[in-house]
């Protein structure tokens, strides 16, 4: 599917693109089939889509676009998006970064890798943060960092809970050290929200890694993960290179994180909205002792 998107971009920009030339491969209609990256089984896209983009064989919860995520999570028509038009500059003059961003904006319809806004879940007001791995693997640069920090600041000011659906390959290499500093910026905004006594729920989706795991994603009061998704700090291949052996499939999975104590619960996509609504309700009444 992504290949098709890129071919549209190539036509639109009318120039040669660094993407691989797929013309020599046999002509398989990829749109019709989904091959699960976890268990390798192949299913019809129709069945896979009807199942909420969850692998029918192994229950791997595959990646959604931010729009798809919002559609199945928040009450229809309630999103008031924040900082919609924000786009990144090129802080370390990284060659080709502007062009790359422009191409991705055309193909994904996103300005960068995160959508933030005020919304409702079953009538309850929240601030929602949804990362989209289709934009530079949702790496965290200036825009991702700034929009997330502002979302938390907005929530602190308006005394709202925050729900963040995380997905990220980590830092955005093209922004160098500026990218690293977004970890401090976002975590600082989480701290102020937390000190105000407000609820922050993280939902870790595929993949939550690197600098996002090592900052705001790991700081939720409650941390939920979708089944079978990848969660970790270091890249798997980096670790395999260090220890010189293959790692088991379960390594850095949601289940691995639950077992090791870094995730509160694993929740299936079809139960997510219900679960979030319940957790929001549980935090509305502050408990007898603190009622004013």
């Amino acid at each position: 599917m992504l290949d098709d998107i890129f071919s549209v971009v190539r036509q639109r920009w009318g120039s040669s693109s660094p993407e691989k030339d797929d013309s020599k491969k046999p002509d398989i209609p990829k749109d019709l089939l989904f091959k699960c990256p976890r268990c390798g089984s192949v299913s019809f896209s129709e069945e896979f889509n009807a199942n909420g983009k969850v692998c029918p064989s192994c229950n791997y919860h595959s990646r959604l676009s931010a729009r798809e995520r919002l559609d199945i999570t928040i009450d229809k028509g309630t999103l008031e998006e924040l900082d919609r038009g924000m786009v990144s500059k090129n802080p370390i003059d990284f060659p080709g970064y502007e062009a790359k961003q422009q191409a991705l904006r055309a193909s994904t319809g996103l300005k960068d890798a995160v959508i933030t806004g005020k919304a409702k879940i079953r009538g309850r007001d929240i601030v929602i943060i949804v990362m989209d791995s289709h934009f530079l693997m949702a790496s965290m640069g200036s825009v991702v960092g700034e929009k997330i920090a502002r979302a938390f600041e907005y929530a602190t000011e308006h005394r709202l809970p925050v729900i963040a659906f995380t997905a990220s390959g980590g830092a955005r290499m093209q922004e160098g050290i500026v990218s690293l500093m977004q970890m401090a910026k976002t975590s600082g905004a989480v701290a102020l929200h937390s000190e105000a006594g407000l609820l922050y729920i993280t939902v870790m989706t595929d993949p939550t890694t690197g600098g996002v795991t090592a900052s705001f994603a790991s700081l939720g009061d409650i941390i939920i993960a979708e089944p079978k998704v990848l969660i970790g700090f270091a890249g798997r291949r980096v670790i395999e290179g260090t220890i010189r052996q293959k790692l088991p499939d379960e390594f850095q999975s949601a289940e691995f994180m639950l077992e090791n104590g870094f995730v509160d619960m694993i929740v299936e996509r079809k139960k997510m909205r219900r679960t979030l609504a319940h957790l929001l309700a549980l935090h509305e009444d502050k408990g007898g002792l603190h009622n004013e």
């Binding site: 900082d83 038009g85 924000m86 786009v87 990144s88 500059k89 090129n90 802080p91 370390i92 990284f94 060659p95 640069g141 200036s142 825009v143 960092g145 700034e146 920090a149 830092a171 290499m173 922004e175 160098g176 050290i177 500026v178 990218s179 690293l180 500093m181 977004q182 970890m183 401090a184 910026k185 975590s187 600082g188 905004a189 989480v190 701290a191 102020l192 000190e195 690197g210 600098g211 795991t213 090592a214 900052s215 705001f216 994603a217 790991s218 700081l219 970790g232 700090f233 270091a234 890249g235 980096v238 670790i239 260090t242 220890i243 790692l247 390594f251 850095q252 691995f256 090791n260 870094f262």
Partner: protein, 267 residues
Amino acid sequence: MSDKTASQRLDIIRMKGRPTVNDYIPLVFDDFFELHGDRLYGDDGAVKGGIAYFKGTPVTVIAQVKGRNLDENKASNFGMPHPEGYRKALRLAKQAEKFHRPVICLIDTAGAFCGVEAEQRGQGEAIARDIMEFMRLKTPVISIILGEGGSGGALALGVCDELAMLENAIYSVISPRGFASLLWKDASREREAADIMHITAEDLKELKVCDYIINEPAEGAHTDPQAAAAAISDYIFSALQRKFQKGLDELLNERYNKFRAIGEFTE
């Protein structure tokens, strides 16, 4: 200040004899008492922490240990901390807050250790927690990068009121080697990578990540560790003077805004 390229500076900080925290701590501080352990899992030799006097004032020192020889490196895992190292740092930082001691962080790491056990014990969570807690720590925090400041593993001790770098130190989102292997699938092009990554003290001062550059002796700190230590002492003294003058709210607001302001975008 000399106008060396990033790759030339990389050579200097990797030079045998480059002073480490094991050299600097006795030269900069008096009566250093080392404190061990994170009270949760173990004691990480990659992070050395303790209490000492700095010119008569009690301070907490938290330092990443690059070894000077193979034995030291075995004990300190070549300066790459595990989660228990970051949790020890946090324990000592909270202790410093309780007793109103400023915290001096000395950063010198290629990065947090990447391994199976580090993942099992929550490397990501440990770093995240440090970043968040240091942001709100109710006592002055001064961080100094001595050599390598590698990614999140360095940032965990780099959320501070002032960040200084030794003249030849570097600070980067990924090691030049890692960058080369990502970008060109060729780790051997690390020097080339270093030169385009904007990782020198001067680059970082321009990007407002680094606040002060501490001059080294002409050919590098290894040629005169005493002089380098004296320059570090002078810097810490002046930084503490600046921070002691501030009220707590002002200190914490300025710390938050220092990081809040970094990022380049248009709306």
